[in-house]
Subunit: 388 residues, 2 copies
């Protein structure tokens, strides 16, 4: 193989790097964006940022938006500029481009296991204020040894399971033991608890979400009481998400909320009952082109699973009444119209709301930020693919 | 925002680029690969390449493996070195790193709509032998104008719908008209037809797939007869996939097959009935680490939707009897054991078979090629994210 490439290179057959032009340039028309592309409507996005920031401030709760939703430093910088206390990341490597972009207060809302990850964490912790989650004494001891060994220190939040049945300690006694251990070890300090319940966020009815939040709140109080009885101060209680934010901020237990999707929305969050509570707008769209119109019952789009995540359902078109995305293949999606008169034609560009924004952002290297019919900027999704 | 960054940079607070170490280096132990990572077992992979190549050659049919499955030039070079006639790509941008790597015969098995894509296609077509699909006279005329305008030429395959109900012309008359149009226009030449039916590939029973292939074959013959009656030579009939390869090569209609997954397999293809027909081995694995063991009923892994595609089902562990992956979240997956004695412990590394290999490859920047317990190479998935 190497020989083959060498031969071709000598014969001048291996070309210079081709120019894959960017999907858009600042100042150009939104309709000229090449597809498939991820498009952010800045007016709606900025509205969403303000709405959540105002909600948090009204209740005296910090907003620490989750950057796992977008993996884009330009977005995090705007959240912090509006008053966010810092950001969350879910992975150590994911945090790197955010620290490089100037973010200085990052909670890694996850357990960290493995020597390469701990080494990178120590590098980050020497540049920024970093907190991480723990739910196991073995992992906490390894964390402490790595931080102390590299001359770094991180804050530790004990992850408590409030019903999600994922990570987190199962009892207040375990939490107290871990908090005490964190206080006794070098390179780490006990900062508080994390109580996140992802499953609650997507319950359809507002009332269901309220009741589930009340139940989680009662559980969190048991943890706080146990820590208090043990004489351990717990300055931070972090958790909450977009679907439950209105209850989380009023719960009197959370000191900060971790919402992420509120800035963008998706069909999954868009379909739950919001009552009068909060009004977030769809700001994130997948832009696709009709590449085939083989029959009167369907139009085929030029995007698929490599441009939009589909495990939470297909993306859905906006501005095309009666048109539905009924299938997402690897590189195609199929649109059907309730009336063939409503089918788009070859070359039409269509905006769709992604099914699930977090994994969809992670498929793209950049997002095209538009205001009205003009492209304002192209933002790098710098943490795309950084999942270690 | 800019001001903030500038201030921090002046104060020396913005760090140099952090070193995110690679997941592995050549020569290191497989067990030391950092996670989540995509791992390719070279012995199984090479067996699979040989099995399919031998099958195609035995029937005198060309093998043109689909690079959309892996997006990795190192893999394509090995397929061609073993005798493949060239490769397929699904997108124009996707083809760029393959041409840069020295591949010189690429069929873009898809319709291409939009001026930026046609411009890039012309660049490629001046360096390599490129064919593309058409299913609409308007798109064919735009293709011809773009190629002629840029001093390039491409071969054209009329895409015919043999039951998938996606792209492709619906009748032999349309195919004849498009073929005739291709013969009359500059910058394009009629090369043959593409008859691909993705839906057939995944039918569970071998007999179902055989019957469906027979039906598709009869339909293809109708197209070939119509072209013959019109006096239009049709040198190429391309299509087929991993699930139907054994029937496609024997069909007497296909001159080449486009299988992709055969090199890797996934849980989706792994679960269909293969009879005695072909024996492909699982060569592609997601490697994850147990990052939390909060309760006796589950272990939490450090990968999720950003490392493995889940719309075709969760990845499944190998070498851990009774252990199942029951949920894939954004950055976590949940393993359950039929007996808590079979649960892995904190820090254990586990190999899993991805649910669907194509979109899973597209989530990773590289794949770690291993032989036995040693890392042999790290291959860039250079076309990752190139979906325009």
């Amino acid at each position: 193989m190497e020989e083959l490439k060498l031969r071709e290179r000598e014969a001048g057959l291996v070309p210079e790097a081709f120019c894959i032009a960017p999907a858009a340039v600042a100042g150009s028309l939104s309709q000229d964006i090449d597809t498939p592309s991820l498009v952010l409507d800045l007016d709606a996005f900025e509205d969403n940022l303000r709405t959540m920031q105002v909600l948090a401030e009204r209740h005296g709760v910090a907003l620490r938006p989750h950057a796992k939703a977008h993996r884009c430093p330009e977005i995090a910088l705007r959240q912090v500029a509006l008053g966010a206390a810092g950001i969350c990341c879910q992975k150590v490597a994911e945090a790197v481009p955010f620290v490089q972009a100037g973010l200085r207060d990052i909670h890694i809302s996850n357990e960290i296991v493995g020597e390469p990850k701990l080494r990178l964490l120590a590098q980050l912790a020497r540049k920024a204020h970093i907190t991480v989650c723990v739910d196991h004494p073995t992992a906490l001891k390894a964390l402490s040894a790595a931080m102390a060994g590299h001359g770094a220190s991180v804050g530790v939040l004990v992850d408590v399971d409030v019903g999600q049945k994922r990570c987190g300690v199962q009892t207040p006694d375990e939490a107290v033991a871990l908090a005490g251990l964190a206080q006794s070890l070098p390179g780490v300090g006990f900062t508080g608890i994390q109580a996140y319940h992802g499953g609650l966020q997507h319950k359809r009815s507002l009332d269901q979400r309220r009741k589930s939040c009340d139940k989680a709140t009662r559980l969190i109080r048991r943890y706080l009481d146990a820590l208090e009885r043990a004489g351990i101060a717990c300055p931070v209680v972090t958790g909450g998400g977009t679907g439950t934010a209105v209850f989380d901020v009023a719960s009197q237990v959370y000191t900060e909320i971790q919402s992420g999707t509120y800035a963008f929305m998706d069909t999954d969050y868009g379909s739950i009952d919001w009552g009068e509570a909060l009004a977030f707008r769809h700001s994130l769209f997948l832009l696709g082109t009709v590449m085939s119109t083989p029959a009167a019952d369907r139009a085929i789009m030029d995007f698929g699973l490599k441009s939009t995540s589909a495990e939470s359902g297909a993306p859905q078109p906006v501005g095309w009444p009666g048109l539905r995305c009924v299938a997402v293949h690897d590189e195609h999606s199929i649109l059907q119209a309730d009336d063939s008169k409503n089918l788009p034609v070859l070359g039409d560009k269509i905006r769709l709301i992604p099914g699930h924004c977090d994994p969809t952002f992670n498929l793209h290297d950049s997002v095209v930020a538009v205001r009205g019919d003009r492209v304002e900027a192209i933002w790098a999704i710098s943490a795309r693919g950084l999942s270690r």
